[in-house]
Structures are given as structure tokens and as C-alpha cells.
């Protein structure tokens, strides 16, 4: 079983074209950009930059991935793809590439609007990409669990709030012990990582945050594979 770049590219091309004509899904990109405009007036605060970045990841990456997969299920096209020579990793790679590229474009635009210039671009990009993997897996998971685009866009809302605005809950943690889990969410971890990188700390002091994000990625991936196995060939 070899991975065929040709098939990945074919699926990527198809999805990109389809998405560009699908305003219901692709218009979600406006949300983080609009937020970026609003917050850009409040000045250069790291928390705000990451509010936008987390929102982009939760809305653009996860939502688009989720909606695209839910639509394939809704229109019975996923079945056709699965019966074709394309393997599951190929199908998902092709689809994830579309969400990923759209995310990167949105992120760059947002960062230009808010004027965010990270101290260590390479490290930050790496961390954001790692987080992207989690959101892609989350989107795939929810896409597989739902049956229609409308259902998917409703189901993903709480996740968008939790991961997009979750860092806003942080001040409440001291008052309500039950919210302690917020500390370990990938978005909170991303913000803390950014603070440490900004203050010039090296790789050595970052590994605990990276490990937590990586755990999220792995858990989400395993869940996705598990759900896929259960729902294989489902209409």
C-alpha cells in the first residue's frame, strides 16, 4: 500500500475548488478576520493576538474540516471515494491540506492586521502547526460523527467557544475550581508557550507544554481512527 501523491493532489484540487464555491462553509473565514480588525485597535497585547489565533484554529481549521467531511457524508460522495483506490490516509491528507492552507492564509492575514510579530517565528510556527493537527483531528472526528453540514455546524459550536474563547475563562479559574481543566486545554497551552517564547526561553523549558499539546493531538487522532473503524462505509 503506497501513498500516491497523485491521488492526494486530485482530492486536494477537488476539495479546494468545491470549497471556493461553497459560501456557507468558506465564509467562516470572515469571523477571525473581523475579530482581528476589532481587536487591532486595542494595541499590541499578546493575549489578544492569541485570542485571534486560537479563534482561527477553532473556527477555520476545525469547522472547515468538519463541514467538508460532513458534506461528503451527506451527499453520499464519501462512499464513492472509499470504494476508489484512494486509501483513507490519502483522502484525509487531501482534505486536511485544504483546511490547513486556508488556516495558514487566514492566520497570516490576521497577524498582519493585528500587527503581531513573534520573537521566534520558526518556533511559533512549529507550535501553531502542531496545534493545527489537533484541530484537524477534532474536525475530522466531528465530521464523521455528524450526518449533515447543518448538524455539523451546530455540533462544532461548543468546541469553537471552548477552544476559541477558552483562554478568556482563565481569570475565573481561581474562583471556580471546576474550571481547572482550562489550564490544560491546547489553546491555553499555546498562549503560555507564546509567553515563554516571547521572554526568550529555550526549548528545554517548553517541553511540558509541547507534550500536553502533543497528547491532545494523539488522543484526538486515536478517537478519530476508532470512530472511523466503527462507522466505516456508513452512509
Amino acid at each position: 500500500m503506497t501513498v500516491s501523491m497523485k491521488r492526494i493532489y486530485a482530492i486536494f484540487q477537488k476539495d479546494l475548488k468545491d470549497l471556493s464555491k461553497n459560501l456557507f462553509v468558506s465564509s467562516i473565514v470572515i469571523l477571525p478576520v473581523l475579530m482581528a480588525f476589532m481587536y487591532s485597535r486595542m494595541g499590541d497585547i499578546l493575549d489578544l493576538h492569541y485570542l485571534i489565533i486560537n479563534l482561527t484554529l477553532a473556527s477555520v481549521t476545525a469547522f472547515i474540516q468538519c463541514a467538508v467531511i460532513a458534506e461528503e457524508k451527506e451527499k453520499h460522495t464519501l462512499r464513492g471515494l472509499m470504494l476508489s483506490p484512494a486509501t483513507l490516509p490519502e483522502i484525509l491528507t487531501g482534505k486536511s491540506l485544504v483546511s490547513l492552507i486556508l488556516t495558514i492564509v487566514t492566520l497570516v492575514v490576521c497577524m498582519m492586521i493585528t500587527g503581531y510579530e513573534p520573537a521566534n517565528l520558526v518556533l511559533i510556527s512549529f507550535v501553531i502547526l502542531l496545534s493545527c493537527l489537533f484541530y484537524l483531528a477534532l474536525g475530522t472526528l466531528l465530521g464523521l460523527l455528524t450526518k449533515t453540514v447543518v448538524e455539523a455546524s451546530v455540533v462544532i459550536l461548543p468546541f469553537m467557544f471552548l477552544f476559541g474563547f477558552g483562554s478568556m475563562l482563565k481569570p475565573l479559574v481561581d474562583d471556580y475550581a471546576i474550571l481547572g481543566f482550562v489550564e490544560y486545554l491546547p489553546n491555553t497551552q499555546l498562549v503560555e508557550l507564546a509567553y515563554k517564547i516571547e521572554s526568550g526561553l529555550g526549548f528545554g523549558s517548553l517541553w511540558s507544554h509541547l507534550a500536553i499539546i502533543l497528547t491532545w493531538v494523539i488522543v484526538a487522532t486515536i478517537l478519530t481512527i476508532f470512530v472511523y473503524r466503527k462507522r466505516e462505509m456508513d452512509d
Partner: protein, 345 residues
């Protein structure tokens, strides 16, 4: 060696038998049509999709079980669904490009556009196509693949005549290339047009499509006492029985009559009325009214025939002028007879 071999396959739902164990083999270059109801068809489709485990039997493709290796299995079969998804926002051309890369098809696809007659509308988006045109895009997908076995689900349900003829053309091409085809359909007419080997699958098992004995054979039956009936008053109406009611029809009202497992049904304006007579009796009675036995299981009112369609050299259809534009099969031998009646030679 058989390309498809279904061995001892059965299906129960709860305590009901959907179909008892049956065997079926299809060799290279053969087409088989199986007529069944919706539940049976869906159960079979699930088996071919490897969704359900087949308890005691097995389905073999080229000698290996379909449950063995998914990748190998997928290379050997091509399944054309009745409800197959297309990307609504993409054009036909986009689909063809996707299929070409997906299935590693390494020739230009102009030929496929031509066969499916989608040339002129190739830039149209799927959502702007009619049902029949969408079906043609789905048939086109089949041509990008190169497996040894093709499974078609309800290929010509609700499609226009052009699309039906394209589908028959495609099956002809596939058979010439030595492929094997199984057609699952709920429409006996289309089964008869597509294949010479037609089966019915139901609670009683897989049965070859039973055709009534020819008229000559029946006439030689000594138990038949034709002469007695001559003396009785012959009334011209055709009685049909619905529940306990007997409904009488004038022969010119009737569109056609179909025989289904020994039960003949009279069709009037798209509705079926079970008749109390056999097809042979009806043929006898209706001959003076311009009725014609166009197939072993069909009698047609020639006054209602609008078109005669030639699908292949061996299969023909009559299209009627009635409400649902029903098409009924015309067998090869009867075609010659019909031509004679029409004064064509």
C-alpha cells in the same frame, strides 16, 4: 473460471426470511439481471459493500472471498449505486478530472464524454443537470475503472430513453471487453432488456424468470376443451378482480398485460389490475382487438404503441403512448412478426 460466484448466501431479518440460501455464478463476458424488491436489493448491496457478514456462505470474485483483502477486492469490482453522490458545485469536467487521477486512468477521456453524450454540457455544474444526465455522469465514472466485475443498482430507473440506451451501450462495451456484470433491479422490463439471464430473488429463493408455455404447447393439451366455450355467449369485456370486486374493462382501454409468476396483470393508465385469466387466454380473446403478444410474458395493445426502440440487435422495446410512457420488452422473434404486421420488410 467464474468471475463472480455467490455461494450459499442467505439473509434473515429478525425472524423473517428475506431470501433463502442461493448460488449464482457469472462467467467472463456475461451479464445477469436479478429482479427483487427493495429490501432484498439493499441486503445484497450491503453484502457487496462488506457491511454485513455473510453467515454460512460466501461471495467470491475471481476465486477469492470478498472479505479477504479490501484493497484487492476494490480493484476487482466497480459498484454503481442508484443513489450515488456527485459534487453539486463542480462541473462534469471537474468530475472527470478527479476520476481520471483517482483511478489512474491514463488515456484522454474524450471518448467517455462521447459515449455518455455529455460533450455539450461538460462545463455545466452538477446541480444544473437533470436526473438522467446525473446518471450518465455516474455511468461515466464506471468507465474510468478497469475491474473484472461490475455491479449496477437500478441502472435505468426513472431515466429517459437516451440515457437508457447509453447504459445498454456501456454494458455492451464492457461485455465485449470480457467483463462480468450483475444488475440488481426492481423493474422486470429493464432486466429483460439488459440480459438474457434474468432471475427473481425473493422468499422462495433465486428462480430463473419463468415464462409461460408457448401457445402451441397449450393448444396440444388434451384437457383443454375449446369447443365448449364457443357456444357460450362471448362477452367482450375483460374481467379483473380487485379484492372481492370484479371490474370489467373494454379492450381498447387496456394498455398492456404483463404476466408475473403465472398471474397476469392488466395495465390501464399505469395501474395494474390482476386478471383472472392466463396470458394465453387473454391473447386469444384480445387478438381481434389489435393486441399483440410481443414477449413471452407481455401482450400489448398495438393501438397504444408510439415507438419501437432497438437497443441491440437482440433487444427491443415498445414505448407506449399512455400516461407513464411505459416501455415493455419486445422479443427478437416477435420483432419479425411485428414488422410483417406493420408492412415493413
Amino acid at each position: 473460471m467464474a468471475v463472480l460466484s455467490i455461494q450459499n448466501v442467505e439473509k434473515h431479518t429478525k425472524d423473517m426470511i428475506l431470501f433463502p440460501p442461493f448460488n449464482l455464478t457469472i462467467d467472463k463476458g456475461q451479464v445477469v439481471a436479478v429482479h427483487s424488491n427493495l429490501n432484498v436489493r439493499l441486503a445484497l448491496m450491503d453484502m457487496f459493500l462488506r457491511k454485513t457478514v455473510i453467515p454460512n456462505g460466501d461471495i467470491l470474485i475471481n476465486g477469492s472471498s470478498i472479505s479477504e483483502n479490501k484493497q484487492i477486492y476494490l480493484k476487482q469490482v466497480c459498484i454503481s449505486f442508484y443513489e450515488e453522490g456527485l459534487y453539486e458545485r463542480l462541473s462534469i469536467l471537474d468530475h472527470f478530472k478527479l476520476y481520471k487521477q483517482l483511478y489512474g486512468f491514463n488515456q484522454p477521456f474524450d471518448n467517455i464524454l462521447h459515449i455518455t453524450q455529455l460533450d455539450e454540457i461538460k462545463h455545466n455544474k452538477i446541480k444544473n443537470l437533470t436526473h438522467s444526465q446525473k446518471r450518465r455522469v455516474q455511468f461515466a465514472r464506471v468507465l474510468f475503472q478497469n475491474p473484472s466485475f461490475y455491479l449496477f443498482e437500478e441502472p435505468d430507473l426513472n431515466v429517459d430513453i437516451e440515457t437508457r440506451s447509453i447504459f445498454i451501450n456501456i454494458t455492451k462495451k464492457l461485455l465485449e471487453a470480457g467483463k462480468s456484470i450483475l444488475v440488481l433491479t426492481g423493474n422486470i422490463e429493464s432486466a429483460l432488456i439488459i440480459s438474457d439471464r434474468v432471475y427473481r430473488l425473493h422468499e422462495a429463493g433465486l428462480q430463473p424468470y419463468v415464462v409461460e408455455k408457448d401457445a402451441e404447447e397449450l393448444n396440444s393439451d388434451p384437457s383443454e376443451t375449446e369447443n365448449d366455450r364457443e357456444e357460450v355467449f362471448q362477452f367482450n369485456k375483460i374481467p379483473t378482480k380487485i379484492n372481492e370486486k370484479i371490474v370489467l374493462f373494454d379492450p381498447p382501454e387496456i394498455d398492456y398485460i404483463e404476466s408475473n409468476e403465472g398471474q397476469s396483470n392488466v395495465y390501464i393508465k399505469g395501474e395494474a389490475f390482476p386478471s383472472v385469466f392466463t396470458l394465453n387466454d387473454l391473447e386469444e380473446r384480445l387478438k381481434p382487438y389489435g393486441f399483440f403478444r410481443c414477449h413471452r410474458s407481455y401482450i400489448v395493445n398495438l393501438q397504444k404503441v408510439r415507438e419501437v426502440i432497438t437497443w441491440t440487435r437482440n433487444s427491443y422495446s415498445l414505448v407506449l403512448d399512455d400516461q407513464p410512457k411505459s416501455s415493455i420488452p419486445l422479443s427478437k422473434t416477435k420483432m419479425a412478426q411485428l414488422k410483417e404486421m406493420l408492412g415493413l420488410k
